[in-house]
Symmetry: C2
Subunit: 271 residues, 2 copies
DNA sequence: CAAATAGTGTCTCTAAGACAATATCAC
DNA sequence: GTGATATTGTCTTAGAGACACTATTTG
């Protein structure tokens, strides 16, 4: 009979083949766009952070930020470390999106990705300093189902347009699995990861707790509504949104100024 | 400038330290218990499959079925393969529950677990043959929050009782993270995995598509209701349950027999 | 017939959607 | 004042919960 001590003296973990593990992060921001009409509120767009790959493989392609897991950290910690290193932004929240382990998904070998969706407020990105020459850029996101049933993912930054096409394989437990038809020049299987993360984010945005993280501490109810509308690609009547959100916010005695129309009261998240 | 070909000729994946990856499966079944009163319907209990560990570490402890990922498979395929190998049952559905990557969670070294919740119908388990001397056994599950705020997980098979205590660390995006206060003699961090899987299952059971997998192809509406009540630990009025479920089922012209009360029509899942 | 479950009808209450009306600012 | 957003009130509608009632079987 072998004792536990004897077991460990003979045990070597390296006798089994092991994969490399990465964390990849789909970081989302709701960006406001300047408008020419001084009376109008600024329009908002959903955008995602991509990195232009400086090394092989997929050199010069756009990819999600991410990197290899280290022995001393959890996959969540790895995700936070990598996005801070690569883009100098720190997300407020991190949502697990799935594990991508299909053999052959990475030409370097057996590499498995833990994917996360993360939320970053526009305010914190502006602080981080938007270096225009940087390899990290925010792409506007469009993701819709076409009439043919396929899903179209369009990412756009300046004059760079990436257009991927995916099909839905199955939806179970609220999570849809996609298959890549056209990677749209995104590196690896990142088109699939982005589509999955977006679907998870849209589902998550039904819950108000999620959408607060896109905004600074004090915000107007209209901007909060815009966030939810932008993410979920829907339209809500202001009266109804305000009724639903009222339990989750508390008002301050501050107001917006100089908007060219009636000032809006600033609110804070309750608790 | 290095070409992609040159890059791969120099690239060795083994230069980075790599973890071992496992898939662990929390397999749930809704079990009906025989009753002494011939008129009463049988009671139902939620149960989970555990394996008595035959080797070190945690030799003799109860653990979730699971095993190491192989290079040719996805983590989902690994989960299905392992549970079939270890318990001779094949789940109908597989729900990703999370990745457990905390350093030190496994005494053998750097081992990361991909956890799944799976659903198995009682009918398929009975076919697989319930070997009473087997290392795999179904434990009745109780999981409740105590008045002190802690969560109590009680697993019971025959005269074996495993009682773990956990605290909730945070709930984000509908997924609760737990921390183990008392592992209740479960191997590794499996108490935490079970608690997380149960929470995911309870959330999933709100969706009718999930609960069908616990039953055979033809079922009574009452048995379907019992499944949802058992998993979520709630009680529903039959009239209301029937109204809600009606869109998801189609009736057959078969009925139950010999129940000691009015026979029930058998239904099938729509589509 | 008694005990139990199967199955239906309907009232109430709540939450969501639609829409109308009023308030307030910059120019 | 004009044009825009901010904010409030209320009507309608859909769905969930509660409850009462009828139907059907076995011993």
């Amino acid at each position: 009979m072998q004792t536990e001590k004897e077991f460990f003296s003979q045990y070597s973990i390296s006798q089994y083949e092991r994969p490399s593990l990465t964390a990849d992060i789909a970081a989302f921001m709701v960006r406001s766009e300047q408008n020419d009409n001084y009376k109008r509120n600024s329009e908002t767009k959903l955008s995602i952070l991509l990195i232009n790959r400086g090394g092989h493989p997929f050199k010069g392609f756009w990819a999600l930020p991410g990197g290899f897991l280290q022995p001393s950290e959890t996959v969540e910690e790895c995700a936070l470390r990598e996005i801070t290193e690569e883009a100098n932004v720190t997300p407020v929240s991190l949502m697990p999106v799935g594990v991508f382990s299909e053999p052959g998904r990475d030409p370097r070998g057996w590499i498995i990705s833990n994917a996360f969706a993360s939320i970053i407020s526009e305010a914190s990105v502006k602080q981080g300093g938007g270096d225009d020459a940087s390899d990290a850029q925010w792409f506007d996101v469009r993701f819709e189902q076409g009439k043919d049933g396929d899903y179209y993912l369009d990412l756009c930054y300046d004059n760079i347009k990436l257009s991927a096409v995916l099909t839905a394989e199955e939806t179970r437990f609220g999570r849809t699995k996609y298959k890549i038809k056209d990677s749209g020049n995104l590196a690896f299987d990142h088109a699939k990861i982005i589509a999955t993360a977006l679907t998870a984010l849209r589902n998550g945005a039904k819950n108000f707790e999620t959408i607060f993280d896109f905004l600074p501490g004090k915000f107007t109810l209209t901007s909060l509504q815009k966030v939810q509308e932008t993410i979920m690609n829907i339209s809500i009547l202001p009266a109804n949104f305000r009724r639903k959100i009222s339990d989750y916010v508390v008002e301050t005695d501050e107001y917006t100024q100089g908007a060219g129309h009636r000032p809006a009261k600033l609110y804070m998240r309750k608790q």
